[in-house]
Symmetry: C2
Subunit: 323 residues, 2 copies
């Protein structure tokens, strides 16, 4: 189980390898929201998302012999790049298992970051079987995207930064809106804030139709989404909260916020116009909640974690058309 001490230890390992992202703001966004909005742009993180934190934490926590044998991850997106970068910079081999229909750009990026990309056919091949076989043959260690204590500790370093940054400007009460898939980032931030900024409450944000975390928190047990595809918010389409993350979410976070994906596009356009940052749809749900669903928020100050910016030009152009 991830502890505050593990997050603080991860922060020391990440120092110099991960960007301390700033807190951005705009009077224009405050006006739309009717309250103070502070945006933490994790899209500016290495590899374009907060996943670089968890990847680095996991790799740097391994003993040298394990790391040298290499790691494996399943991901078509941000986790793939985070693990690939961390492995390569640690001199460790990495294998990323990706569906053969993943966008060519993401495949190319993951390879360029030094990973061996193994493609599989979603329709005819069993990802878990291929992964298990590869791990066994080559003695690779699996780095899970969220249900891993060291990955959660790495994501939690984002929460340590938030705690320091709000202290600098005298904010002690706020809601922290976090885009939520499996809950690694939300739970990591929540643990960090519990220790260092207990007046800040994490509220997981999800797109309509993929609100497993909100419903799980309401039900008091893990419930699943009906679908795991069919949204432009691809970065956060996990089937359900994790077995490690859920108890943390349950103890520290909520209630969840649910936002139509069309609002994510509008929020991306505002982030372009007012903050000059590039966000992906799954990275802008939190901003959309702050800007357009403020009736579900109580705090005078909202911290919005803009979790990622790995978006294609076509979807971004679509967002700009909402202006």
């Amino acid at each position: 189980m991830t502890t505050l001490a593990m997050i603080e230890a991860a922060a020391r390992r990440l120092d110099g390898h991960i960007r301390r992202t700033p807190l951005l703001s705009s009077p224009f966004l405050d006006k739309i929201a009717g309250r103070r909005i502070l945006v933490k742009p994790e899209c500016l993180q290495h590899t374009g998302s907060f996943k670089a934190r968890g990847g680095w934490s996991a790799l740097s926590a391994m003993d040298e012999a394990t790391r040298k044998r290499g790691v494996i991850a399943y991901s078509s997106g941000n986790h793939a790049q985070g693990v690939a970068r961390a492995a390569t910079e640690h001199g460790a081999p990495s294998v990323i298992l990706m569906p053969s229909d993943a966008p060519q750009l993401k495949i190319d990026n993951t390879r360029a970051l030094g990973a061996e990309v193994v493609l599989y056919d979603r329709a005819t091949e069993d990802r878990d079987q291929i992964g298990a076989d590869l791990s066994k043959q080559r003695n690779l260690t699996l780095v899970k995207p969220y249900d891993d204590p060291q990955v959660i500790a790495g994501q939690g370093t984002c929460g340590l930064e938030i705690a320091e940054q709000v202290a600098e400007i005298g904010v002690t009460q706020a809601e922290v809106l976090v885009n939520c898939g499996g809950g690694g980032l939300s739970s990591g931030i929540a643990l960090a804030l519990e220790g260092h900024a207990p007046g800040l409450l994490v509220r997981p944000c999800e797109p309509v139709g993929f609100d497993d975390v909100k419903r799980s928190l309401e039900a008091g047990q893990i419930v699943r989404n009906k679908a795991t595809s069919g949204s432009i918010c691809d970065a956060i389409l996990t089937p359900s909260p994790g077995v490690i993350t859920f108890p943390i979410l349950q103890r520290l976070c909520g209630p969840g916020l649910v936002v139509p994906e069309a609002d994510a596009l509008r929020a991306m356009a505002q982030a372009f116009l007012r903050l000059k940052i590039v966000t992906e749809p799954g990275g802008a749900i939190s901003l959309a909640a702050a800007l357009y669903h403020g009736d579900q928020i109580d705090a005078d100050t909202v911290i919005v974690v803009a979790t990622g910016g790995n978006v294609g030009a076509d979807v971004f152009a679509q967002a700009l058309e909402t202006l």
Copy 2:
């Protein structure tokens, strides 16, 4: 004349009011350029450009009585917003004289930042006369966009940050590519680096057809552009280097780099894709020089100052089409 001590004093006045922008990088950009590229995203600065520094420096350097009477500036763009924000946050009135055909968004933004916008007709009215009359009637102080020692000192704080940031990563030799209009930012950064990072050389960057700074440096005297409009790089289309800035540029900077504006659009697309930042054409000439004109650069490490991000969705969409 601006001195290093004035820049350091400006930095103390700016502290807490201006963002310390990070240094971003991407292995993908390094690969295109064939050398190490570090990008200082001043587009993430308040008001979307470095001009917030000079505006704050000028307003905060005034005596209280002068400031209370108010300030005036001529600008259709970034300087307008920098001065408007600084004045409003100092409780001072500001008048910004803008051409009536300026983009509505820029007029609206400048008003929203608290300025009184006075529109004039470019064809039939004399801007300088209107400005002089208004200044006299209301006893306003003119804040020039670059030929003002305190404005240069404010822009120079960007150079102090660069000096600190390269020291942290052990870089002592580099070329610093700065988009250049009247030379306020280039000269301010150069003065700061002369004092704190003398191995770093500022190289002013301009679009083809508006290379007054490059030609002035070559001629050893101020020469003018033939045109002052007709480029998408609107932020840096000044007729010539300033009388205060030019001697500094001459002593410390150059040679200039000149880049076709089409390359600025390509660089904007790369900044979107690899750094997740929004740059305007006049803010991306420096990145274009680093990425596509490296044959004119000697250093192994290049610092690119991405000076601004105030761009409309239409021009940004045009940039994305280059991908």
